[in-house]
């Protein structure tokens, strides 16, 4: 057997397990969900194998001129999900950027330690990290205890089951996803470029806007994409910190599958979610493609 043929067979053998796994348990199921989204819901759960476009109509009905099944609540929930996911992304960038900058400018030994310390909570169980914020934000929680201890008991607030609580929880849970790409791009930023900018008369603020920000944009875009996507689909954080008051797209989908048992409608909602994700990914990829093209 020729060397090239041997390499080809070796490659096929190595790729076969991944190919089988992904075809059977990923691509196939996704196609199934896609087809479910245009099928009729069965009377007692399950699905009738008929063409049925009204699942999307329930969410997007009015704009499509299809008002029969339309309920504005669904569109509102989707819009709220997008809004909160954007907010979570912005807050994450703002919180992580200075911290990533700090770590990247530490001496090498302490930098390795700091990276370790920042990464470790990422491995704490998601549910445990959300639970921690339930302890803090509930009316009898740590936040209000601290406020009372400081003599500011009047300022006690009930953040539990608010959009703010959901945003705080999502930011806390997704922080590492933002931190690592930001760190990677800030670490690559040559300090001589910042010095050069100052040397040419730019204030620290001008230096940040004109040099640091554009050169670390890949990290910001990368971090934003991988924070926005899970923030959009997460249902654990809103269900624990948002309760029934702050329903997000993820909760809606979960309900359709596990409570209402309207799978086709849930599948349609999932397809809409995927559409948003696709837009974000394409935007990030487009940004990467144009990066570095000068003038």
């Amino acid at each position: 057997m020729s060397v090239a043929a041997h390499a080809r067979w070796r490659r096929r053998a190595l790729l076969a397990p991944a190919g089988l796994l992904l075809a059977a348990a990923f691509v196939g199921p996704l196609l199934l969900v896609a087809s479910f989204s245009v099928l009729e819901p069965g009377l007692y759960g399950g699905v009738e194998w008929h063409w049925y476009p009204y699942n999307f109509g329930r969410v997007l009905g009015a704009p499509l001129g299809d008002v029969e099944e339309f309920d504005a609540a669904y569109a509102t929930t989707l819009a709220r999900s997008v809004k909160l996911a954007l907010l979570v992304t912005l807050v994450s960038v703002a919180v992580c950027y200075p911290a990533a900058w700090w770590v990247s400018r530490l001496p090498p030994r302490r930098r390795a330690l700091a990276l370790f310390v920042v990464t470790l909570p990422f491995f704490a169980n998601l549910i445990v990290r959300v639970y921690a914020w339930m302890l803090i934000l509930r009316p009898t929680g740590v936040l209000n205890l601290v406020l009372a201890a400081l003599g500011a008991g009047d300022a006690a607030t009930d953040l539990m089951y608010t959009e703010a609580a959901v945003v705080i929880g999502l930011v806390y849970v997704l922080l590492p996803f933002m931190f690592l790409p930001l760190y990677a791009s800030i670490e690559k930023l040559d300090p001589a470029l910042l010095a050069a900018s100052r040397d040419l008369g730019a204030t620290p603020a001008q230096t940040f806007v004109r040099v640091a920000l554009p050169l670390t944009l890949p990290g910001i875009v990368g971090g934003a994409a991988i924070v926005f996507i899970p923030a959009l689909g997460n249902f654990v954080v809103p269900s624990l910190l948002g309760g029934s008051k702050v329903m997000l797209a993820g909760n809606l989908i979960e309900q359709q599958f596990l409570a209402a048992r309207n799978w086709p409608f849930g599948a349609a909602l999932a397809m809409l979610l995927l559409a948003f994700v696709l837009v974000v990914m394409l935007a990030a990829a487009w940004r990467r493609g144009t990066r570095g093209a000068v003038a």
Binding site: L30, V118, F123, I127, V128, R129, L135, V277
Partner: protein
């Protein structure tokens, strides 16, 4: 210059503090002896740990909270079995894919890479419902087996990414010479570090498992999630602390080995 660095260092310290404070709270409260109001510190006790382990406690009422020791044990066993099985399978599948794709470019390589990236960028919930729909339609029973398959889908992608990054730094010569000095660290990495990280990720998963666990195969995160939806109880602090401790030890070992370039 030194003057400008200081506020940043202060911010960094606050950042790290806020990262750990919520977790530290849970650990602290898990030793709180106050039975009436779990948020107010009354004294030190191991009772909540004794309670979840089914041991006799000094606080008569505490035992009433725990009607679930048996199902907790079952959840731990389910989580462990699933994590071990998923780790073994996905390490093999992901490493094989990385070895195949890490070499010279060939036609279709980018398509394979795209396919392998997708499970990681897909929202968990979409993967969860897709698997639910699939298993139900095909008629496969939901349980430990379906969870293992589900975990393997996204874990294989993680393994592929991490191994590919490692391979990019290793020449194919080194990879082929199994007895070579350079192959030893790579082997350690593959045998120890990678499975540790994969194990933790599997252990952590709630969303995908939530959809495909069925009624009998509750995992530990599902158990805690379910308990939290019913209300906060002091035993949860003890459970969460044990889980935290376990995750941190395993992850710290993995990260430390990776930091040592093993």
């Amino acid at each position: 210059m030194t003057l400008r660095v200081r506020p940043l260092a202060l911010y960094g310290s606050v950042f790290v503090l806020l990262l750990y404070a919520p977790i530290a709270l849970i650990v602290g409260y898990s030793f709180n002896a106050n039975v009436v109001n779990m948020m107010l510190w009354e004294g030190f006790t191991f009772d909540w740990y004794r309670a979840i382990l089914g041991l006799p406690t000094t606080l008569g009422r505490a035992a009433n909270h725990v009607d679930t020791t048996t199902s907790l044990r079952a959840a731990v066993v389910n989580s462990a079995v699933v994590a071990i099985a998923a780790t073994v399978v996905s390490t093999l599948v992901g490493t094989a894919a990385a070895l195949a794709l890490g070499r010279a470019p060939f036609r279709g390589r980018r398509a394979w890479q795209g396919l392998l990236v997708l499970p990681m960028v897909m929202p968990d919930i979409v993967l969860g419902i897709a698997l639910l729909v699939f298993f139900t339609t095909v008629g496969l029973p939901l349980g430990r087996g379906s969870i293992v398959v589900g975990h393997c889908v996204f874990l294989s992608s993680y393994v592929w990414v991490i191994v590919s990054a490692r391979l990019a730094g290793l020449s194919t010569d080194l990879e082929q010479a199994s007895a070579d000095l350079g192959a030893a660290p790579f082997t350690t990495f593959r045998r120890v570090t990678l499975p540790l990280l994969a194990f933790i990720i599997s252990l952590d998963d709630l969303v995908i498992t939530w959809f495909i666990a069925g009624v009998d195969a509750t995992t530990l995160p599902m158990f805690i999630y379910g308990a939290l939806r019913r209300g906060i109880k002091p035993e949860i602090n003890a459970m969460a602390t044990l889980l935290l401790g376990f995750s941190f030890v395993v992850a710290a070992t993995g990260l430390w080995l990776r930091g040592r370039r093993l």
